[in-house]
């Protein structure tokens, strides 16, 4: 009905920024953290990364085929690669190949295409997939490889990596362990206290990412840098990351001050790649976050609150995905209630009064 109207009205010119450009910039911002993650966890991580991204593309293409659409231009917009990429970053680095495939399948089919494709989904596809995997395969999704960088003698070689990815780990206990948050959780259950638990915790190693964690989520430094760069590029707005991080900092600050034996400090919460990844790259997903600055502040604060609650008391210490999904479902509501004020009208939409002064 309107699709074939040739544009006769403005704007006849436009910004050079396209969807592909935006996706490209986000990938660029993710590259340092990803590269570092791949280095720290070696060949098995690279296998998983490639498998996850390729299967995301594959599932997107299949869905488009089934829907009778031409796949190539849609695949070229970069959104499928980005979803696969983000998902891979949140997976345990040495997870078996099928975790990546199943995850991508969930993300692309259930997370995106059943809603009608790009821009239509309610939930962040990568987070939906991650949470589904975490619930379905709790063992594989919480097996965290030790730091084993490329080209170190103890690290798996390429041939080892094929075995790890396709046949699974054999000597699990020797090469894996817990993340900081998971460790705190289990130690608490044995009635240990924080100062004791964190004897071996190193701020600086966590900061650069020399620690156990998801494939691309270990480095606070690289993820924060990437995120700040994205804000400077104007690709994302500051509202969500700032309100999210601030909320976590304030809440953990309060609890830590009250009881420093049981509640981790704000520094420990914020000095986490996973936190940075969520704040800058996951919560800021255009499609599933509100579209006004005020709405974004509310959304970010909500995410921060839920993340803190889940991390502190929840069963899944690395479960910020749940927080994101919950807030995703609140996004339509936030957008409904928080709207910009229309020029010449008050917040309720009535024409503003003329004050004769």
């Amino acid at each position: 009905m309107i699709t074939h109207l040739k544009p006769s009205s403005g704007a006849h010119i436009g910004t050079p920024v396209t969807v592909g450009h935006i996706m490209g910039q986000v990938m660029l911002a993710l590259t340092p953290a990803t590269a570092f993650g791949l280095y720290v966890f070696g060949w098995p991580a690279l296998n998983l990364f490639v498998i996850t991204v390729l299967s995301a593309l594959f599932f997107e293409a299949v869905c488009l085929k089934l829907a009778g659409r031409i796949a190539k231009p849609v695949l070229m917009d970069g959104s499928a690669v980005l979803t696969g990429w983000l998902l891979a970053m949140t997976l345990p680095p040495w997870a078996p190949w099928w975790i990546g495939v199943v995850g991508s399948g969930i993300a692309m089919i259930l997370g995106k295409q059943v809603y009608g494709g790009l821009g239509q989904n309610l939930f962040n596809p990568a987070m939906l997939a991650r949470v589904a995997l975490l619930i379905s395969f709790p063992i594989e999704m919480t097996t965290w490889a030790n730091v084993s960088p490329l080209f170190f003698s103890d690290s798996p070689s390429i041939s080892d990596s094929w075995r790890i990815t396709f046949a699974g780990l054999t000597n699990i206990d020797a090469v894996t362990g817990a993340t900081t948050l998971g460790f705190i959780k289990t130690e608490f259950s044995q009635n240990h206290l924080l100062p004791d638990i964190l004897k071996d915790y190193s701020e600086i190693l966590n900061f650069i990412g020399w620690t156990r964690g998801s494939l691309g989520e270990t480095s606070t430094l690289f993820l924060a840098l990437g995120g700040i760069w994205l804000i400077r590029q104007g690709i994302i707005q500051w509202h969500i990351p700032v309100s999210l991080l601030l909320t976590v900092a304030v809440l953990s600050g309060i609890f830590h001050t009250v009881d420093s034996q049981h509640y981790a400090s704000p520094l420990l919460h914020l000095n986490s790649g996973a936190m940075m990844c969520v704040a800058f790259f996951i919560a800021t997903d255009y499609v599933t976050s509100p579209n006004t600055p005020a709405g974004q502040l509310v959304f970010g604060a909500g995410c921060g609150l839920l993340i803190f609650v889940i991390r502190t008391w929840g069963a899944y210490p690395e479960g910020s995905g749940f927080a994101i999904l919950l807030m995703n479902s609140a996004t339509p509501l936030i957008d409904y209630y928080i709207r910009p004020r229309i020029y010449g009208r008050d917040r309720k939409g009535k024409p503003i009064e003329i004050n004769k002064s």
Binding site: S9, I13, I22, G119, R341
Partner: protein, 495 residues
């Protein structure tokens, strides 16, 4: 600190690449060769079309009245040159549809001979009403593109005791530089026009607002305004759409015009710099509005220029003069690239609203390959009116026009910021214009069907009444008959 929390003075907007340099440094060309024929539409303004008072075959002089203004909101049309009238008929209008409108065709005689114009020694002796009358009689309308009759605005300003007159020298549309050049070259005349407008509105202060990307124009205007303390010349930030009257009013005065009100109701009136120049010419020289400065620019134009042309000049004539290469043209736009409309061909006249004619090449145009909306919210943040273009477009796509209207469709000013910024190349403004048209059409249709229904109802009621009447009469007749028969029977019995 307090000002940090105060309402922001500029909302939304985009910083588009200006592309003004090609024309902004060249003087206005005033020796455009007089075209053989001029096509003068009778409606070049908001309001009722003018009514012609000449006949085919008449000889007219430059500046002679061709069609008079009809009704409260209208404007007359004058002969842009001397010659003879060869047709009064429907010709394509400079509009995307190029639908025909009533147009006077004037064949020029080459003499360009003026009618005798009255000589006014001191216009400040004239009464304010008299100035508005003369401005109205000169056919002056808002030359920034709004084309609202200037005299009506002056009268409203006077009636509402407006205290501030804002002169819009923002010229925020990319490519266009006709106002910039006029301010540089004709600053004294423009300031004179501003003073005349102040006199006509009985207002005391004027603010000339110029975007800070036009330093030369600013200097020239400042120098010209120096002797007159009532006129202040200020610089404003360069940001489209700074020249949107309501945005400018808020920036300059801090006041916001309520929806559904005219700016004069909050004590402000806004006019364009070119309009001020036209007022000067009308009052000081007695010359009606018969020409205007037009920016001809764009990638397909070999000789981009600002030209003063007689109204009614065909765009094709302009393009020949500016050496436009037709094979490079991807789109012809009248006005600026943000709000202007594309034209289907060049056999269309320039009118009072024509601030620019652009011949754009493919590489200058926004890509039209539409992709799905990624909800990036850029369109929300650039909308100066505070709307949510993505939601409106969604509703329109799903044919929920009422919802679109509810969330602000009618408050859209078609500024084009949202279309400009959208990374998915969604022609948002196109959607909104389509929907507004559709809503208007539906309302009209509903109005019509309601009227028809009323007529049918009335007819039914009438028919029913007649039927009832007939039935009642029939009954009365039957009753009378029965009575008669009974009486007859009784008589028969008694006899």
């Amino acid at each position: 600190m307090l000002s940090f929390f105060a309402k922001p003075r500029i909302r939304g907007g985009v910083h588009a690449e200006e592309r003004k340099a090609a024309t902004a440094n060249l003087p206005i060309v005033t020796d455009f060769p007089l075209p053989k024929k001029l096509y003068i539409p009778l409606q070049q303004h908001v309001g009722k079309p003018a009514e012609p008072l000449i006949r085919v075959g008449d000889k007219v002089l430059k500046g002679q009245l061709l069609a008079y203004s009809q009704g409260m909101i209208s404007a007359p049309v004058h002969a842009p040159s001397s010659g003879s009238i060869i047709d009064v008929n429907d010709y394509p209008a400079p509009h995307p549809s190029a639908l025909p409108i009533r147009t006077i065709v004037l064949e020029t005689d080459g003499n360009d001979e003026w009618v005798t114009t009255p000589n006014i020694t001191d216009p400040f002796q004239l009464s304010p009403e008299d100035i508005s009358l003369r401005v109205g009689a000169a056919g002056i309308v808002g030359l920034g593109g709004a084309t609202f009759p200037t005299a009506v605005k002056l009268n409203m300003g006077r009636d509402n005791h407006v205290d501030t007159l804002i002169i819009n020298g923002a010229e925020c549309e990319p490519y266009l530089s006709c106002d910039d050049r006029q301010m540089q070259e004709r600053a004294d005349q423009i300031i004179d026009g501003v003073r005349l407008m102040l006199h006509s509105m009985v207002a005391h202060s004027a603010v000339v607002a110029i975007e800070d990307n036009k330093p030369l124009a600013f200097l020239a205007m400042q120098t010209a305004a120096n002797p007159f303390p009532a006129i202040k010349v200020i610089q404003i930030p360069t940001r489209y759409p700074m020249g949107w009257d309501r945005q400018l009013i808020r920036y300059v005065t801090g006041k916001e015009v309520p929806i559904g009100c005219r700016s004069s109701e909050i004590g402000v009136t806004i006019h364009n710099v070119s309009t001020a120049y036209a007022v000067h010419k009308a009052i000081r020289l007695g010359q009606p509005l018969v020409s205007r400065v037009v920016t001809v620019s764009g990638g397909a134009v070999a000789r981009p220029l600002n030209i003063e042309v007689p109204l009614g000049t065909l765009i094709s004539d302009l393009f020949v003069f500016c050496s436009v290469n037709p094979s490079h043209i991807a789109r012809i736009v009248m006005g600026g690239p943000m709000m202007g409309d594309s034209l289907p061909h060049t056999h269309l006249p320039t009118v009072k609203a024509t601030s620019g004619i652009l011949a754009l090449t493919q590489s200058e145009l926004k890509n039209t390959e539409e992709q799905p909306c990624i909800r990036c919210a850029s369109c929300v943040s650039v909308c100066p009116a505070g709307l949510r273009p993505l939601d409106m477009a969604n509703n329109i796509r799903m044919n929920q026009l009422d919802v679109a209207v509810d969330i602000g469709l009618k408050d859209c000013i078609s500024c084009g910021c949202c279309s400009y910024i959208c990374p998915s190349n969604i022609p948002l403004v196109q959607y909104f214009k389509y929907a507004s048209g559709e809503v208007a059409a539906r309302q009209q249709a509903q109005h019509k069907s309601e009227q028809t229904k009323r007529l049918i109802d009335a007819r039914n009621a009438r028919m029913e009444r007649i039927a009832q009447q007939q039935a009642a009469e029939e009954q009365a007749r039957l009753a009378a008959k029965a009575e008669r028969e009974q009486r007859q029977a009784e008589q028969e019995v008694t006899t």
